[in-house]
Amino acid sequence: MTLIVFYGLAATAVTAAILVVLMSRVVYSALALIVCFGATAGLFFQLGAQFIAAVQVIVYAGAIMVLFLFVIMLLDPASEVFLPSRLKRVPVFALACAVLFTLVLLEAADRWAAAQVFTDSIAGTERSSGPGGEIETLAHSLFRDYLLPFEVTSILILVAVLGAVVLTRQHHETE
């Protein structure tokens, strides 16, 4: 059962990812990306990371992608016109690189598996977590061990927000 679910989600994710790359209209790409994120969220859930799965759906597929869609609507990009470019051989090279890259990662994964780094496998969604469940462990870790990085990230987000505002505002003023 879990294997079927995994393969279903994996197939969806890969298909959506390929669509993201291939779609000539940006909006379609964005929509395909949302689908891909959803499938990944399902995989996260299957891996026992319920909280992350929720965040993935709410923040990523929700907030960030909405931001993307807003920008797409704002700029209304025409479908990609293939202007003559000097980089005709780049896609070939990229594909070759990507295949190689995948092979490298697979080889690495195989080695890890062979070295029995991992706990053998999972049967379902159940997971041996402490009392209070997985989210409590996460919270403990986040707000105790990783408190400083957490605070730093909040500053980072603040800076990003300000940066975004400044970047887009300045242009208005000059106009």
Binding site: V20, I64, P77, A98, A109, L142, T153, A160
Partner: protein, 100 residues
């Protein structure tokens, strides 16, 4: 039974697809989305490791990646807006003035 290798393979494939997208597409927004795709693949690896090594830190890292990705999206999209206003196009190959 699903082993870690399954998830890692899937993540590798997703990452490679994202890479190809970044390199081949010329629309800035699409490139940007492909970068998100790559990040997503990395997140999947993190979660996988977290699960199979039974350590919570992987999930923490995913959270950080997501926050950084959100910040990146905010700044990046702002830059895209500025770029499109400035050059009137979203084609990265047109924005090639920073060269010798």
């Amino acid at each position: 039974m699903i082993s870690a290798t399954h998830y890692l393979t899937l993540a590798a494939i997703l990452f490679a697809i994202g890479t190809v997208g970044v390199i081949t597409r010329r629309n800035v927004i699409t490139m940007f989305m492909c970068v998100e795709l790559m990040l997503n693949a990395v997140n999947l690896t993190f979660i996988t490791f977290s699960r199979f090594l039974d350590q919570i830190d992987g999930q923490i890292f995913v959270l950080f990646v997501m926050t950084v990705a959100a910040a990146e999206a905010a700044v990046g999209l702002a830059l895209i807006v500025v770029l499109s206003r400035h050059t009137g196009t979203l084609d990265v190959d047109q924005a090639n003035t920073m060269k010798w």
